[in-house]
């Protein structure tokens, strides 16, 4: 009996898929970043708005440029470059010259992502690569802070923002002194604590009334946005939880040893970039281990390193380097925490 040759359509099982897809995950991360950007603009004004837009456009343009160079279709629609741009902008000082922001955006995508092979291949968090680069290139501008909630923040730019490309901005001191009623120390709560042993009101820290990078000041808002992602199962909650726990325990141990010299653990959690870093950068899936036990180890290590760098390092903030070091340790952690195969007596050993 002759049968006509059927049209073969090969599809392997499974034939159903669970939510969410990569672009859904990325899109939701962007949604979660929007309130934080909005608060940054609200606290620091016009300069921050333009800085965020500049960095974002630099990232998107760089990504598109390399797509064009490689003769590949645009990858902008996976939202990954958008996330890098927004995150990078949120880690920069609000009054950073815009041209430096653009350089950071270019470096983040070009060196942090495209160089390694694009989405899914980057070893380090691209946004932090961009930030580390300009931290080394422009140390002064990267540690020049502006006071939040200035009266004229929506009417005028911070003077340093509009510095011409390849020009150092003029020092901000005189402008800041004239703009604020009280004396302006020009330091973040972390620097105040580290160099001058001056504490900051915890409520101010939690709510985000202090100076700092554009998007890192409001701990509670970051937590809410992170909780949204975790509840929608768009983010592995263990990564931020592990990093915060690691930092809390390490800081707690130091605090128990000498409460006068070392900051208390709650201050540690809500000061500087720890909250932003833990919720949005440590949770970057690409650079973190894939093994369940490795995730805890990795996250805890980053929290531990943050506190160690803050206490013993030359700079007041250690989140960026802690995460980059964690990224670098990730393949090693993954290799030693591989799950045990069903039926095998011992966990496998990497050759």
């Amino acid at each position: 009996m002759q049968q006509p040759l059927p049209r073969v359509e090969i599809r392997t099982s499974p034939h159903i898929r669970s939510a969410p897809s990569v672009d859904e995950i990325m899109r939701h991360v962007v949604y979660a970043l929007i309130p934080i950007c909005a608060y940054a603009v609200y606290a620091f004004g016009l300069s921050t708005l333009v800085l965020i837009i500049t960095v974002l456009l630099a990232c998107l343009a760089t990504e598109r440029f390399f797509n064009w160079m490689a003769d590949k279709p645009s990858t902008l629609r996976d939202y990954s470059a958008t996330i890098t741009g927004l995150l990078l902008a949120l880690t920069l000082p609000p009054g950073l010259p815009l041209w430096m922001g653009a350089v950071a955006g270019f470096i983040a995508i070009a060196l942090g992502k495209v160089l390694f092979g694009g989405l899914g291949c980057n070893v380090f968090n691209p946004a932090l690569v961009g930030r580390a680069f300009i931290q080394a290139a422009f140390p002064v501008a990267m540690t020049t802070w502006t006071p939040p909630f200035l009266a004229a923040r929506f009417a005028e730019f911070v003077p340093s923002s509009l510095a011409l490309p390849f020009m150092e901005p003029a020092p901000l001191g005189p402008w800041a002194q004239s703009a604020v009623v009280d004396a302006w120390s020009g330091a973040t709560p972390l620097a105040l604590q580290k160099f001058e042993q001056v504490g900051t009101n915890t409520m101010d820290l939690v709510a985000g009334m202090t100076a700092g990078s554009a998007g890192e000041t409001s701990g509670v808002l970051i937590l809410i946005c992170g909780a949204y992602l975790a509840l929608r199962r768009m983010m592995d909650w263990r990564l931020p939880a592990g990093m915060l726990l690691g930092a809390f325990l390490t800081a707690g141990a130091f605090y128990l040893v000498d409460a006068d010299k070392y900051p208390d653990p709650v201050f540690t959690l809500f000061s500087g970039g720890l909250m932003l870093g833990a919720v949005f950068m440590a949770s970057d899936m690409v650079a973190s281990p894939v093994t369940p036990s490795g995730i805890w180890l990795y996250a805890g290590l980053m929290g531990f390193l943050t506190v160690i760098i803050r206490i013993f390092g030359g700079v007041p903030e250690g989140v960026m380097y802690a995460i980059l070091l964690g990224n670098a340790a990730s393949p090693l952690i993954e290799a030693v925490t591989q799950p045990r195969i069903y039926g095998a007596r011992k966990p496998r050993r990497k050759p």
Partner: protein, 496 residues
């Protein structure tokens, strides 16, 4: 009873309600049945009938050949019209040797009701081996979809002591409800089948494992086992792949089957609930495996149902009986959506392992193009075998099979949990099946090379042996000749 947890797993939406509420119905006898000779793992059966021959219902159409094989019987009475090629229920759409039977609609049985060799008797008065032989002769295979000949599995009990028989009523695949309905409606028959199997295996106890999303089946099986103290119902959580043999053993006993061993090595044998029901029918009624319960479901089917279907019925007949498609199906499957196979079209026969015919709608399959892996690790968390799909897939793609083996490719059960959760929609199971296929090819090639080398070596040895023998013979002849000549010289000449 204590239940243990297996690693990983996923929770797909069950989609069982549409068909779970429907009692098993008999499908009207189709005009033609297409009975493939290979409906099981192992060697295909060998035809015993000729074209034009009239056959009774239950008559042997093809007998098993080889150690691992199963016979095939006539699902109904009628005339053999063809023994040839017909599309197999396989994605390739390739042909398989098939006996085509034109039914006469009378369902007539032979003189002895079914086939002569299988008269109903009391199994508990029979020797275990004889019962096992009858189960084999009835053509019973693993009805959960694995289609391993049941008698071969029962014979494992002869070599090793089996303490526990696990009855797999997990049915963890979404949409499928045939086992659920079987346990609800035919619990007593299933329990009888379990007791027969216990007798064959001489096992101490049987554990009937049912997922907790089937309360009616649990209640019905509990009621049916009440008078038998060595039968227990174990309620296991609904988690895919609960119905996988290794995961089920771990859930019920807490023991992992050690790497490289079979479940029988730790004294456990697992059989599907559909298989024990078939055993009951074969031994108590003398009826070989002629039909099975099939779930017809999926979002593209107008009226999902559970049907008792004669083997060899075309899938299109089942779909027609269920009101046809409510919308054009995006994919037609045999088996469940997690491990089932795509059918090339609906003109393929139902075979012994077909537990479901599922027509999925476009919305249900959520087909998306594959994206780059973002190393989210969801596949590692979901793998019930403790493997790292994220590391295995790229190695297989690069042809590095040895490295993939180090990551445990050989332990993959192709359950599809990893692909199910992958946000990048990467066809991981496809990579693993391909990798396993390549490994099998490589083993086969190695086996062939070794066989060739062995044969060549043997030939060399033989030639050497022969040469030596020839040389020896030649030397002997020479010696003999020399002595003869010497004798001739020495002997006095006889003149005539």
């Amino acid at each position: 009873m204590k239940v243990f947890r297996f690693r990983g797993g996923v929770h797909p939406e069950s989609h069982k309600t549409p068909s779970a509420t429907k009692a098993i119905e008999d499908l009207p006898l189709p005009e033609r049945l297409y009975v493939p000779l290979q409906q099981h793992i192992g060697a295909p059966a060998k035809p015993e009938v000729a074209i034009g021959q009239r056959v009774y219902k239950g008559q042997l159409l093809a007998h098993s050949q080889g150690m691992i094989s199963a016979p095939v019987h006539a699902p109904s009475s009628g005339t053999i019209v063809d023994i040839g090629e017909f599309t197999a229920p396989h994605p390739s759409g390739l042909w398989v040797r098939t006996i085509t039977l034109e039914t006469d609609g009378k369902n007539r049985c032979g003189k002895n009701r079914w086939h002569e060799s299988a008269k109903p008797t009391d199994p508990f008065k029979m020797a275990q081996q004889e019962v096992a032989a009858r189960i084999g002769a009835a053509g019973i295979v693993g009805m959960g979809g694995a289609t391993f000949p049941a008698a071969v599995k029962l014979a494992l009990g002869k070599e090793r002591r089996i303490h526990t028989l696990i009855i797999n009523g997990g049915e963890c695949e979404p949409y499928l409800t045939c086992d659920d309905r079987l346990m609800r409606e035919r619990a007593h028959q299933a329990v009888d089948g379990i007791r027969i199997m216990l007798h064959v295996l001489q096992a101490d106890q049987a554990l009937i494992a049912i997922e907790d999303n089937k309360p009616a089946a649990i209640a019905s099986m509990r009621a049916a086992r009440r008078r038998h103290a060595n039968l227990h119902v174990v309620v296991v959580p609904s988690r895919y792949p609960m119905g996988s043999e290794k995961q089920m053993i771990q859930s019920v006993t807490g023991i992992e089957v050690p790497a490289g061993q079979r479940s029988a090595d730790i004294g456990v044998i697992v059989h599907n609930v559909g298989t024990v029901y078939a055993v009951h029918r074969a031994i108590r009624l003398g009826r070989p495996l002629l039909s099975r319960v099939v779930t017809v479901g999926g979002g593209a089917v107008r009226e999902p149902k559970n049907l008792e279907v004669p083997l060899g019925t075309l899938v299109e007949d089942l779909l027609e009986f269920c009101g046809g498609y409510s919308e054009p199906p995006a994919r037609l499957l045999m088996g469940g959506p997690m491990m089932g196979q795509v059918l090339p079209h609906s003109r393929v026969p139902i075979v012994k392992g077909s537990n479901g015919v599922i027509a999925l709608s476009t919305a249900e399959i959520r087909s998306r193009p594959a994206m780059p892996c973002i190393r989210c690790g969801r596949c590692v968390a979901a793998c019930p075998c403790g493997l790292m799909p994220v590391e295995m897939a790229p190695r297989i793609r690069n042809g590095d099979l040895d490295s993939a083996m180090e990551y445990g490719l050989g332990d993959c059960i192709s359950c599809g949990s990893c692909s199910y959760v992958c946000p990048s929609n990467i066809p991981l199971v496809q990579y693993f099946n391909y990798g396993k296929g390549m490994l099998a090819d490589r083993r086969e090639a190695q086996r062939k090379t070794e066989a060739t080398r062995r044969l060549a070596q043997e030939r060399r040895n033989r030639l050497e042996r022969e040469a030596r023998a020839r040389a020896k013979a030649a030397a002997q002849r020479k010696a003999e000749k020399a002595t003869d000549e010497a004798r001739e010289k020495n002997s006095p000449e006889v003149s005539v």
